[in-house]
């Protein structure tokens, strides 16, 4: 159909550029099919049913990465920018439900929790405060109703676990303590059980894996271990299996590409799953019930990467390339509307 006298600017006096491909993006006007096709080709045509899904939040790049990226887990492809962040956006930890993403504990030693709803236009808002300022190196996990934040390094390792009810904003409540204080650990959860894996304790990586029963409160209990001892790994889980990927095995550059897995319902040690496409620490993990994604991180030479790879959770094997983020970044957070344990 030829382009003709139905400009997209018919309602407003100035030409309209659609705001983006998500269903909540604006594109007021009267449009021809030809125009819709052109903007669709530029991935800027607002599309019904298209909402942000798996989020990569903030993190460190050459400066802080002050935006949230999104990918669709079931496909492959590059991440696209969804919305901007404000304030300190380095080193957050993230979790969430099918409708809402939360992140907290940034390097500015703030106790601020922020959130965004997947169905929104990307507007972020304050959720509440953590029990304490966890600072850099904290970790988070969640079920569909409850989000938990733990540990972190605020000049000394922390052991506090705090939790929030995701659907209602407000301050976090004390949940209990980790078995040992640490930071740079990795959180993952099934529908009932949360695991805090690895991390750095007393200045050294640890094999320790703690678990909590998310619906209750109380101190964490020893679950088993990762092998080798690592900090700064990426992780995610579905209702049965947890994936722990990468990390650093010592304080000298010794990044690993090892991917490990565990059956969350059974106490014990992680087992070998396969290899990441590269050896990184300070990447982030998230995924669906079938896929576990790892995004970003730092290589042994301390440079950051933009890569995203994934494994199929149900079957062991090496990671496969998924796509790239918009820039190199590490120490980012993640949350996913189709998180595997929801």
């Amino acid at each position: 159909m030829p382009q003709r006298s139905w400009p997209g600017s018919l309602i407003t006096k100035t030409p309209v550029t659609p705001g983006g491909a998500f269903e909540s993006n604006a594109a007021s006007g009267v449009w021809t099919l030809d125009e819709a096709l052109q903007w669709t080709g530029k991935d800027l045509w607002p599309t019904g049913g298209k909402t942000a899904q798996c989020l990569f939040i903030g993190g460190q790049s050459s400066g802080d990465s002050a935006d949230i990226l999104t990918v669709t887990v079931s496909t492959t492809g590059n991440a696209i920018s969804w919305t901007d962040l404000t304030g300190d956006t380095s080193s957050p930890s993230g979790c969430g439900s099918a409708t809402r993403a939360l992140w907290a504990s940034m390097s500015g030693d703030t106790n601020l929790i922020q959130y965004v709803d997947y169905s929104s236009d990307g507007t972020t808002a304050t959720f509440g405060d953590l029990v304490q300022a966890d600072g850099v190196g904290s970790a988070a996990l969640s079920t569909s109703t409850r989000g938990c934040f733990a540990a972190g390094d605020d000049s000394s390792a922390r052991d506090v676990i705090s939790y929030v009810t995701i659907s209602s904003t407000g301050n976090a409540t004390d949940f209990g303590d980790l078995t040992i204080s640490r930071y740079y650990m990795t959180g993952m959860a099934s529908a009932t059980r949360g695991l805090w894996c690895g991390g750095e304790a007393g200045g050294n990586p640890t094999t320790r894996v703690d678990y909590i029963t998310i619906a209750s409160t109380g101190n964490a209990i020893d679950f088993g271990g990762v092998d080798p001892s690592t900090y700064g790994a990426a992780g995610s889980a579905n209702t049965t299996r947890g994936i722990y990927a990468g990390g650093s095995t010592s304080n000298t550059p010794d990044e690993t590409n090892k991917v490990q897995y565990i059956t969350i319902a059974t106490l014990g040690n992680f087992a070998d799953f396969g290899d990441l496409t590269e050896a990184v620490k300070f990447g982030v993990g998230q995924g669906s019930d079938t896929r576990s994604l790892r995004a970003g991180g730092r290589l042994a030479d301390d440079s950051r990467v933009a890569t995203i790879d994934y494994v199929t959770i149900a079957s062991t094997g090496d990671s496969t390339d998924f796509g790239d983020m918009t820039n190199d970044r590490s120490s980012l957070a993640a949350a996913c509307a189709v998180q595997g344990n929801l």
């Binding site: 269903e23 909540s24 007021s28 009267v30 449009w31 099919l33 819709a36 019904g48």
Partner: protein, 124 residues
């Protein structure tokens, strides 16, 4: 009655019809009854999204029988209409004749967000 020979017609009446898509089921937008003795020349079909927040998808089909019966042939399939925007699906450069016992229907992906206006000539 047979559809008229359009070089020898007695009446051409300009008409418009509207429909609000209150469900996600196929809904008749324009139907030319069997043996009507008429043919409809559809000059324009515009879909408006009255939701101010989210885009909504629309499919417009041509049906081989009246009242959206028979076989559906897609004119547009699952095309997104942005919030507070309108999409011109048919215009005078791509008009469609709707013969006897044929119809045009619309299917919305979201109920109560989309409205359709069709402008046509009823020829007999």
């Amino acid at each position: 009655m047979a559809a008229p020979n359009i070089v020898n017609v007695s009446t051409i009446t300009g008409k418009s019809a509207t429909v609000s898509l209150t469900s996600t089921s196929a809904t008749a937008v324009l139907s030319n009854a069997a043996s009507s003795g008429k043919v409809f020349k559809v000059n324009s079909l515009i879909v408006a999204n009255v939701d101010g927040t989210n885009a909504a998808n629309i499919s417009i089909n041509y049906y081989s029988q009246d009242d959206i019966g028979g076989t559906a042939t897609e004119i547009v399939s699952t095309v997104s209409v942005p919030a507070d925007a309108s999409l011109v699906v048919i215009d005078k450069n791509s008009f469609i004749y709707l013969e006897e016992d044929r119809s045009i229907g619309a299917t919305a992906a979201v109920a109560n967000d989309l409205k359709v206006i069709v402008s046509y000539e009823e020829i007999s």
